[in-house]
């Protein structure tokens, strides 16, 4: 079966569900709003993170996007209809992941750009350099996309939106705000933290901005492979 029609179908499914469009809008709004609030009020010891602070909360909306896009298939026999149209499950899941990744990346990059412009306007001379800022913008786009994919993979393993969100949201909030303070340790390698290294001007840990994103990328790839394997193995 060719890939393009399956991707087209998955794209139609995403743009025709208001909750998914809402999650994408939420990703943009949460990231820009919390970033602006931090830039306006924070201490600015790390100028880049002062601008991109909101990503740590915006990724919760990105997670909701990835989870909802997949979990919609596990309601009321929807997956059976989907797989009766596309029996090649791995190809279908690859199309689903692509249909999640593309809008996430587009919204993520736009979010990064707006966040950067707002942050630089608020911070003025104490803000990050343009080079740093562009790295942050790309990092923001990739981190949000990778978290959406990580969540999508996990949702396919757990076969439930509620179960996936009740694992991931406390995980992101607790890791970011409790365990995350003990930075430099294992917490740096957790998916929501590793990619955020790219959003800091300086970082003490063993990860750099791109290796950090690569670690989050590995988490997302592992979750997607597990999801694809689970779909392939399990009766629909």
């Amino acid at each position: 079966m060719p890939f393009a029609p399956v991707l087209h179908a998955e794209w139609i499914k995403i743009r025709t569900l208001r909750s998914l469009l809402g999650a994408l809008a939420g990703t943009f709004l949460a990231t820009t709003a919390f970033s602006a609030a931090e830039a306006a009020a924070g201490d600015h010891t790390d100028p880049l993170y002062s601008v991109f602070f909101g990503v740590s909360l915006g990724q919760i909306a990105a997670i909701a996007f990835g989870v909802t896009a997949v979990s919609a298939e596990f309601r009321g026999g929807a997956l059976r209809l989907t797989l009766s149209a596309v029996p090649d499950r791995r190809r279908w899941f690859a199309a689903k992941a692509t249909a999640i990744a593309l809008p996430s990346l587009a919204v993520g990059l736009l979010t990064g750009l707006v966040t950067l412009l707002v942050g630089k306007a608020l911070l003025g001379t104490s803000g990050p350099t343009w080079t740093e800022g562009l790295r942050g913008t790309v990092g923001c786009g990739l981190q949000l996309t990778l978290m959406a994919l990580f969540a999508a993979g996990l949702a396919a393993v757990l076969r439930s939106g509620v179960a996936t969100l009740s694992v991931l949201i406390p995980f992101v909030l607790i890791v970011s705000f409790v365990v995350g303070d003990l930075s430099g340790g294992v917490a740096d390698f957790l998916p929501d933290r590793a990619g955020q290294v790219a959003l800091h001007s300086t970082w003490d840990g063993s990860l750099g901005p791109w290796s950090g994103l690569a670690v989050t990328g590995l988490w997302a790839a592992a979750a997607l492979l597990a999801g694809g394997w689970s779909l392939h193995r399990t009766d629909a």
């Binding site: 079966m1 029609p5 399956v6 087209h8 179908a9 998955e10 139609i12 499914k13 025709t16 569900l17 208001r18 909750s19 919609a72 309601r75 009321g76 026999g77 929807a78 059976r80 209809l81 989907t82 797989l83 009766s84 149209a85 596309v86 029996p87 090649d88 009766d235 629909a236």
Partner: protein, 306 residues
Amino acid sequence: MTSIDVRDLSKEYGGRRAVDQLTFSVRSGRVTGFLGPNGAGKSTTMRLVLGLDRPTSGAATIGGQAYAALREPLSQVGALLDARAAHGSRSARDHLRALAASNRIPVRRVDAVLEETGLATVARRRVRTYSLGMRQRLGIAAALLGDPEVLLLDEPANGLDPEGIIWIRTLLRRLAGEGRTVLVSSHLMGETAAFADHLVILGKGRLLADTPVQEFIHARVRPLVRVRTTDTAALDDLLARHGLDASRDEDGTRTVRHARVDDLGRLMAEAGVPVLELAAQDATLEEAYLDLTAAETEFTALPQET
């Protein structure tokens, strides 16, 4: 000529056999009713045919091919499994458009099936606002989307109003008339006999019957004769002498089992028993079906004490 062929098909769930060494074929050009009590394995068999569940052993093919091997399957096989498959927040048209896109089916087919199933005027409403009958029609629209040669419909009449039931009967007859292969499951014999040519009956995952509807009626439906007389004592005596078993109704009417009007009429004339009424009565098809499946029913209700 596309047939559905099920060969030695078995499916176990945690040691329980939902489908047990099932072998049957569904031929084109006729409606095959797929009957059995709840839990008999009808839906499981359909999922196995569609490659959604993996069989424990055996195989199911459509036109000689495993479903998973079909390229763009919607134009060859259409299926209705669950009326809840459409997302409540999406419109019926968007639901069908996504499905059509995956198999490169043109959008005009979406509008055509919406028209055909009577949903055209509500096509842009969100599915959440639909009644069960409308969702069922949407599921049938999805099955018809690719204009397929083979149709598998799981309880399509579920939730339809009387008008909808007549519509589905006509639709099924027409689809079979066009030479398509149509498999329709139901747990109601009366409903199925109204449109099916052939019956495949399951009980506890096993095949109980694979027979034309007419043959099933001839072989299984026991004839009954209803008779009324002024002299009930003489009639009862006559019946007893000929070993005929009869139930006694309150107004003196007797319902005689395993008898024919021709025989009983002659016997009564010979014995001089006056006849007020003598009529053949077919035991319902439903009863014959229940007799067949009674021993195989998964969930039998306990007799109620009165």
